[in-house]
Amino acid sequence: MKFARTLLPALAAGAVALLLNAPQALAAEHEHVPTAMDLVYGAINLSVLLGVIFYFARKPVARFFRNSAGEQRGGYDDAVNVAQQTKAEVEAQKKKIAELEGELHRMLEDARGDAAEEREQLERDAAATGERIKTQAGIQVAQEMNKARLALREQLADETVRLAGQLLSSRLDDERRNGLVAEYISQLEQGS
């Protein structure tokens, strides 16, 4: 844009010069056969044109190139800065990653330690629970055995008495019953 602004006056001047010489050039083309002088005039016109162009265009062109170089240099500097910043950021990120890895490692170690401790505690609890269950089971077994023994003894007693009762009933006659009554009366006497 800047280039266009500086070059525009030079181009305008060149165009004015061409317009000024255009009638002569056209007249010479239609009326005369070109001569050596025509070539000289043409050369002069061209020289004047180039001179005008140079005169008006040198500063804008120089400024353009100067600006362009500055811009390129600025861009280069910016790129260097960006590259440096990026490098610094990459370094920072690497450092952070290293720190995170360290933290992660510590966390893993801690977790392993906690897990080992917890496992030991669980093992101790399990052992204690197992011991308790074993003891309770032993007590229960003893109780059940005792209960079964008592039930068996009770059953045995009931059956024994039932059979004895049946036997006695079958063998008891009036004589034996009278004997029992006499025995009772006799015992009353002894009791007194």
């Binding site: 008592l150 008495v161 006695l168 008891l172 009036d174 009554v181 006499a182 025995e183 009772y184 007194s192």
Partner: protein, 179 residues
Amino acid sequence: MSGVIAQRYARALMNLAVQGDTVEAVASELDDLADAMLEAPQLSAFLADTRVSRAQKQEVVAEVLRQSGVSELVNVFVRFLASKRRFALLPDIREIFHRLADERLGRAQAEVTVAAPLSGGQERSLQEKLEALSGKQVTLTITVDPEIMGGVITRIGSILRDGSLRNQLNQIRQSIKEG
């Protein structure tokens, strides 16, 4: 609670009967009245009916006593009982009075349980032994219960003597159970 109240009334009646030397007669009259009461439940229902006035009840009781011809002591006692709305306690009072009378007169009731009926000789022998043991004149009330299998059970007051085969078998059962 009613047992305690009946005992109180029975003791009071006993004291009055002893003063009048009419223990046996009062016991007999109480028996008649209590039996009559048991045989006529409508009388008990009438006396327990709260819709009937006390005067009407007193009138009926007086009529019953007049017809039964009881002594003045029993007459007054039973009317007093009715006035206190305790007429229903009469059977309990009768029982307690008999026990008190037995104690006072040196008598005892012996409840005897046997597996088979006793002969006359066995009864007399048993009665003699029990009288010798208790030091009282014993009256036997004999119950036959084949379940006891054999032997005799006697109860005088709160003293129980169980010489039955059933009891012996139960003792054997207990000793087996206890190991």
